[in-house]
């Protein structure tokens, strides 16, 4: 069954390696790799000159900048508040803690389109928050700010859920030692506790960022979709597709794909590095 030479793996007493790996690779190839290869081939077939012309088009660049920029801001917001929420959930006991703990996963469970129409209803100029914001001259829905809010919603659980288990494992003796040595609480937290959490925080940030860059369902309902201003890269792909411009769609998709792949590799590298360094992630 195994079509891989046995020298590829170290000897093991367990059976089923060939079957398990074979099935995994077959499914991975059929569902993921071949379709993605079709995309890259299609993008490559239009030639380097046209490829770079599309890639350097101001509208493409603006869309990519918007997608990456808003995802970056949202991921940063989530890093700060995600860490705070994880800290509160791990360290404190208070009524409603379990509900909050469970609610953090809501964005994983709630379909993005549902979140999108709901947030559009809230932040539109005639919505409950949008109308208040407008009195202060602030527009939320249909601006990049609306996109950031949608991405904060999408990305929050990634940070909380990566940081939480690590925070739970930080031993309290190091804090006691630090306190006994005369460090202030603030100093103990920032110089003794948090360094343990940084790799997990970085992973959570990267996951939230990666998810935010590609997000579509929740954003299109709340973004203004104006070229150069509030048109995200995934929407530009859809628009290019809808105007028969397959070349344009595939080039932008390939660019995003390459960046996603690089990001994932980075995340896995961070995890591998911190596993060897701290023995956990």
């Amino acid at each position: 069954m195994s079509f891989l030479p046995s020298s590829l793996r170290q000897p093991s007493a367990l059976p089923g390696f060939g079957l398990a790996l074979g099935f995994t690779l077959a499914a991975l190839s059929l569902i993921v790799l071949i379709p993605l290869a079709a995309l890259v081939l299609r993008a490559a077939s239009i030639g380097p000159a046209d490829f770079f012309a599309i890639a350097r088009d101001p509208r493409t660049l603006a869309a990519l900048r918007l997608s990456f920029g808003t995802a970056l801001i949202a991921a940063l917001v989530n890093t700060v508040f995600g860490l705070l929420i994880a800290w509160v959930l791990v360290r404190y006991r208070f009524p409603g803690r379990r509900i909050i703990d469970a609610a953090v996963d809501l964005p994983f469970a709630l379909p993005t389109a549902v979140a999108g129409i709901s947030m559009a209803a809230i932040y539109a100029p005639n919505g409950p928050i949008g109308s208040i914001a407008q009195q202060f001259g602030l527009k939320i829905a249909y601006t990049p700010l609306g996109i950031v809010l949608a991405l904060v919603f999408i990305g929050l659980p990634f940070v909380v859920r990566t940081v939480q288990p690590v925070l739970e494992e930080v031993e309290s003796d190091i804090e006691e030692a630090s306190a006994l040595l005369g460090a202030s609480r603030l100093r103990t937290v920032f110089q003794v506790v948090l360094p343990h959490v940084y790799p997990a925080l970085l992973t959570g940030f990267a996951l939230a960022f990666a998810r935010g860059v590609g997000e579509y369902g929740s954003v299109i309902f709340i973004a203004g979709n104006i070229p150069l201003v509030s048109e995200i890269a995934p929407l530009l792909i859809v628009i290019k597709l809808e105007e028969f411009d397959y070349g344009g769609a595939t080039v932008i998709a390939t660019l995003m794909l390459a960046i996603s792949f690089a990001m994932l590799f980075l995340i896995n590298a961070i995890q591998g590095w911190s596993r060897t360094k701290h023995g956990n992630v």
Binding site: L21, F23, L25, A27, L33, L89, L106
Partner: protein, 293 residues
């Protein structure tokens, strides 16, 4: 990990310097609560308020509509295919990755994770490029009268791609932490490979598996971007629930859109409840899972 639930809370420690002062705590909890309230609770509550804007009658009227029923049926069908398939892939992948050492393992892990970070729009686009009438296999499929894009198979494929890593990502870390000693013992005692897998490995990971299946199912039923690209939006035929929300929204039927949305939101709440129960009941067995998705 999760032990702090059962052991002494840190605040009971006599050394106050290892905890924050009570006012600081209160402020931090309040900030966390307000943030979650604004970002998470508010949109959720809005869905139900908008759905009930015209009363229960209109809400139930939406669910009596044949197009809505067809959308619900299609969503269930897609999940019923995508979730078991990805559960099987997840089990196979975690067996190979967690129980064996081989070259290229990190690359394989990254590739399994890839669908998770690519835009859902791209997940739909790739199948249009493959199976669309203008795509690589399009002309051949057309000749043989096989329809994938703008039909149910395309929707299933796009959903499978989007939810591909969900089960695997829950199982791999757990199985890695469990090692291979139990399986080796069973084999030494004369059990067959399959028997060992079914009676030793599977019971050890069953809760993590269920956990992965829950998340996979939630995403499969809620996927919008990928499915939107391959659906064709034919009412009663290729509309899943999230797409039906968009259609009702564009029909000026806002109450209807939020009614279907409230059904999906209800499903999300049930998922969260089940998940919370699993975590509470089987904290130890789930502990190694990194809880990422």
């Amino acid at each position: 990990m999760a032990m702090s639930d059962r052991f002494l809370p840190l605040s009971h420690h006599p050394e106050r310097a290892t905890s924050e002062t009570a006012p600081t705590k209160a402020v931090l909890i309040a900030v966390a609560g307000l943030f979650l309230g604004a970002i998470l609770f508010f949109p959720l509550v809005t869905v139900f308020i908008e759905a009930l804007r015209k009363g229960w009658g209109t809400l139930f009227g939406t669910f009596a509509d044949p197009d809505t029923l067809a959308a619900i049926r299609l969503t269930l069908l897609v999940a019923a295919i995508a979730v078991p398939f990805n559960a099987a892939v997840g089990l196979a992948a975690s067996w190979a990755i967690a129980k064996f050492e081989f070259r290229g393992k990190n690359l394989l892990l990254t590739l399994i994770d890839l669908p998770f970070s690519i835009s859902p729009v791209i997940s739909g686009l790739v199948y249009v490029l493959l199976f669309g009438a203008q795509g690589w296999l399009g002309p051949w499929l057309d000749q043989h009268n096989i329809h994938i894009i703008f039909a149910v198979p395309g929707i299933v494929l796009a959903t499978v791609l989007v939810t591909f890593p969900f089960v695997a990502r829950e199982l791999i870390p757990l199985m890695q932490s469990q090692g291979t000693s139990e399986e080796e013992a069973a084999l030494m005692l004369g059990a067959s490979g399959w028997y060992t897998f079914l009676k030793v490995t599977l019971p050890n990971v069953k809760w993590a598996l269920l956990y992965g299946v829950l998340l996979c199912n939630a995403r499969a039923m809620g996927e919008f971007g990928a499915v939107s690209v391959v659906s064709g939006h034919i009412r009663g035929l290729t509309n899943t629930m999230p797409l039906h929300i968009e259609i009702l929204y564009n029909d000026y039927n806002f109450v209807g859109a939020f009614a279907v949305a409230s059904l999906l939101a209800g499903l999300a709440l049930v998922t969260l409840l089940a998940k919370t129960f699993l975590e509470w009941r089987f904290a130890g067995e789930l502990a190694a899972t990194s809880r990422r998705h």
